[in-house]
């Protein structure tokens, strides 16, 4: 029985590791300027976690194999070094590993959250609501119109609650269902929630940030690869949560300007 347990456990441990090693299911390629830090951090952690996982499982398997149904009734042997040895080992190994990770982690984290957006970053407002994202560009005047929740009228595409009748700034605001941005230019995303909690997640962009109602947050990032990527909601927001998505459209600068003009004409 013990030997069988050891074999099964060994197989499980090794098989589990295969997809990780072969990257069968893995992160999509990174398209951001900050992402590599996160990827490195994750790869390092994977190395250490993977080692600890295999070491522990295989050790368990080995001991169970070796000490199952021992018949001899001699005095019990104990692991050389005993508990003290193990505790010290744990403190040194795990302690230093974890501390290292913690410190390294700070770097990646800081690159996302502790650096201010550059002054010439493109300002886009993202609004999350049940169950779609909508985006707003300030238009020619470079100013956003104010938000008036009472003016929201989704049937007529007034998702933000703009008041063009009384506010000039609002008249040229460009409201779109996809987030188009120029490649290699920093974007400052001003995040506003219309109703409940939502989240902005683009795996390729290595970016995830919650929309918190009543608390307008912002994130800034620079996309480097032209292409079309999915923005999905990762904060449970109600029955349409699974279906809440939009597209991030990274374009060349001039394509972006064309697109913006065309959208402006549709408003």
């Amino acid at each position: 029985m013990g030997k069988f347990f050891a074999v099964v456990l060994t197989i499980i441990a090794l098989v589990s590791a295969v997809p990780i090693v072969r990257h069968t299911w893995w992160m999509p390629p990174d398209i951001s300027t900050h992402g590599h830090a996160i990827d490195e951090q994750l790869t390092d952690t994977m190395a250490e976690a993977g080692f600890s996982f295999l070491a522990a499982q295989l050790l368990l398997a080995f001991f169970v194999w070796k000490f199952s149904e021992r018949k001899d009734s001699g005095p019990i042997k104990s692991l050389p070094g005993g508990a003290k040895g193990l505790v010290i080992a744990a403190l040194i190994l795990v302690g230093t590993e974890m501390l290292a990770l913690g410190v390294l982690g700070q770097k990646a984290w800081a690159s996302v959250y502790f650096t201010p957006a550059s002054p010439n970053a493109l300002h886009v407002q993202a609004q999350a609501g049940q169950f779609a994202f909508y985006f707003r560009y300030p238009g020619a005047d470079g100013k956003f119109g104010g938000l008036h929740p009472d003016k929201i009228d989704e049937g007529n595409q007034n998702y933000f609650g703009l008041d063009p009748a009384n506010e000039v700034e609002a008249r040229d605001d460009i409201v779109t269902g996809e987030l188009a941005i120029p490649a290699n230019r920093e974007v400052l995303l001003l995040m506003h929630s219309k109703d409940v909690g939502h989240s902005f997640y683009v795996p390729e962009l290595r970016m995830q940030q919650d929309f918190v109602p009543g608390l307008d947050l912002s994130v800034h990032f620079t996309a480097t690869k032209v292409g079309r990527y999915e923005i999905v909601c990762t904060q449970l927001c109600g029955l349409g949560h699974y279906n809440m998505k939009a597209y991030l459209n990274v374009m060349a600068q001039d394509d972006f300007e064309k697109w913006l003009k065309q959208k402006a004409s549709e408003q």
Partner: protein
């Protein structure tokens, strides 16, 4: 006994129970209450498992008909096709049932109630009436939660974490967010009351009712775990209770604790102002993270208790295990923020929460190494109980290592709210704790019922469950790494479609593994009535519960008042009975520390 029972009656201690009601329903006997908790958890766990079956099936056949589902809810599953909101309802109920009524009740309340007093040589809990109340309040909480299935709108859809404002604004937020969410809030509030009464009892009992010679350090590790857990849950539920109160007030009295101004839900401007959604998250996770340890610490204790018996030698150091459990309990109050790295909390505090979280891995690793190291030079006996105990260690490691990732805010940016997280907590908190409950059941069933369980069925059950759970939950991590978002009722995003084969595999594994649990159920019921009659000490164990008849009399030790001479791990020694010495046997052991 006559002279004794009179003063006892005055002590709020009870005489032998008379009549069916007093014996089996409103019983003051901690053993009956323990069994009641176990039964409740058993019902809850099977409901929860069937819910997970329905969810897994829906995930691979989003438009598939499920026979009979429309009879459970006409609105939730028109023509047997599950609606998105009904998926979320089932998900919410699955989480709530499993976390509260299974993982909190089974390892802690059920086994703790039954064995903590016996293991410290007490006749009963310190406050038997509180004890009875704590179960029946919990039971009412369960009924209230279940009612949600039978109201028109169905159960709530906001998940077991009930994030505000989704959970706070009321019916506008979607089906189930009306009375369903109210019932949820009330149920959890009641559950808090029950848990508080229970924890109070555990603590007072452990501190004051220990038998002569039962020093704190001579308590079995299981008792230690229950004691530490009681301390944690006392403080944790004392915070969740007010949180639920405020939530219910927001919903039913129009207050705005968690709801900010200017929300437009279902085209309606909500008449609330100034509340803070993050406040709910802080209050909830201040409870929620310790809750994880409320589930896993008793499991650690039970496993240590059973492991040491089946390896026939003392652990390398019981003290280290105890101190590790204490430090985990202590640290568990400084890490709740790691659930909120991307919730818009101040980024600096994210780092402040990251370090203690990483630090928790140290005591956890220490315990794991002690368990592993203790196997060295052991004479392992393979019973169903010991297999599940060993399986626990394996699961705890597998689930633990993924914690390395989630403890780091930078990686959490990518992995937060993906199946990686789901895999992590299902393995380390769900499956691991359940393995400990299985181990405990196979180990203590003879004492609780006076009959042995079938070892053959037990082993079949173990092998399918062990391999099966790995097949279910390992792939969750792969899905997470590929960015698969959790809490989706179906996968419509382009980047998720390539992952469907993995989901199919998981669903099949889940159906098989779930089916295997009915072997356990059968074993439980069959052995209860037809099992071999159990001797007093079938496992040649040393702690006090094995010194009294199986099942024990109403006052555990009868007239006898046990006196304890040894620590509970006297295995691998030369004793009159064999390779072990009972805790209460006066015989000397050479070079005992």
């Amino acid at each position: 006994m006559q002279e004794a029972s009179a003063p006892q009656a005055q002590q709020g201690h009870h005489g032998p129970p008379e009549g069916f009601i007093r014996k089996y329903v409103f019983s003051l006997d901690h053993k009956v209450i323990g069994k009641q908790y176990y039964a409740l958890a058993l019902v809850a766990v099977f409901i929860g498992m069937i819910l997970s079956w329905l969810m897994r099936y829906h995930l691979i056949y989003p438009n598939g008909k499920i026979f009979g589902l429309e009879f459970l809810s006409k609105v939730g599953a028109p023509g047997g096709v599950m609606t998105p909101e009904y998926y979320l309802s089932l998900m919410t109920m699955h989480g709530t049932l499993m976390v509260f009524f299974v993982l909190t009740n089974a390892p802690f309340a059920a086994f703790g109630n039954y064995f903590l007093p016996i293991q410290i040589g007490a006749e009963d809990m310190a406050f038997p009436r509180f004890n009875m109340m704590s179960f029946w309040v919990t039971f009412v909480a369960f009924l209230v939660l279940m009612t949600a299935f039978f109201i028109p709108d169905g159960p709530p859809i906001s998940g077991w974490t009930a994030y505000a404002p989704l959970s706070a604004v009321g019916p506008d937020a979607g089906p189930g967010q009306g009375w369903g969410q109210n019932l949820w809030g009330i149920s959890i509030a009641l559950f808090c009351v029950g848990s508080l009464l229970g924890s109070l009892n555990f603590i007072a009992t452990t501190l004051d009712l220990r038998a002569k010679g039962m020093t704190l350090m001579r308590m079995p590790l299981s008792t230690w775990a229950w004691f530490i857990t009681a301390c944690i849950s006392l403080l944790a539920f004392a915070v969740l209770l007010p949180a639920c109160l405020l939530l219910v007030l927001d919903r039913m009295a129009g207050t705005s604790f968690f709801i900010p101004a200017g929300l437009v839900v279902s085209d309606r401007l909500q008449a609330h102002a100034g509340g803070s959604p993050l406040l709910w998250q802080h209050l909830f996770w201040f409870f929620g993270h310790p809750e994880v340890y409320i589930a896993i610490l008793p499991a650690m204790g039970i496993v240590s208790h059973i492991l040491v018996n089946s390896i026939r030698r003392p652990l390398l150091s019981a003290k280290v295990i105890i101190y590790s459990m204490m430090s985990i309990g202590f640290l568990s109050y400084m890490v709740w923020g790691h659930h909120m790295f991307v919730s818009g909390m101040n980024p600096f505090s994210s780092l402040m929460f990251s370090f203690p979280t990483l630090t928790i891995t140290i005591p956890a690793t220490v315990m794991t190494l002690i368990w592993l190291g203790s196997l060295y030079g052991a004479r392992i006996r393979f019973t169903s109980a010991s297999l599940f105990a060993l399986g626990f260690i394996s699961m705890f490691v597998s689930g633990g290592v993924s914690g390395f990732f989630l403890a780091q805010p930078s990686i959490d940016i990518y992995l937060h709210a993906t199946y990686f997280v789901v895999g992590h907590f299902h393995m380390v908190m769900g499956v691991a704790a359940i393995f400990a409950v299985f181990a405990g059941t196979y180990f203590w069933f003879p004492k609780m019922t006076g009959r042995m369980m079938s070892e053959g069925l037990g082993k079949v059950h173990f092998w399918i469950t062990f391999v099966g759970t790995y097949c279910i939950f390992m792939p969750f991590h792969y899905l997470g790494l590929a960015g698969n978002v959790r809490r989706y009722s179906s996968f419509v995003d382009d980047f998720l479609l390539p992952l469907m084969p993995v989901h199919r595999f998981i669903t099949i594994a889940a159906l098989i593994t779930g089916a295997a649990q009915f072997i356990f159920l059968y074993n439980l019921i069959y052995s209860r009535f037809r099992g071999k009659v159990a001797p007093v000490n079938p496992w040649e164990a040393t702690s006090l519960e094995w010194t009294i008849p199986s099942p024990p009399p109403w006052n555990n030790f009868g007239d006898r008042h046990p006196i304890v001479y040894h620590d509970p791990h006297q295995y691998g020694v030369k004793g009159s009975l064999g390779d072990y010495v009972m805790q209460d046997s006066p015989e000397k052991i050479e070079n005992e520390s």
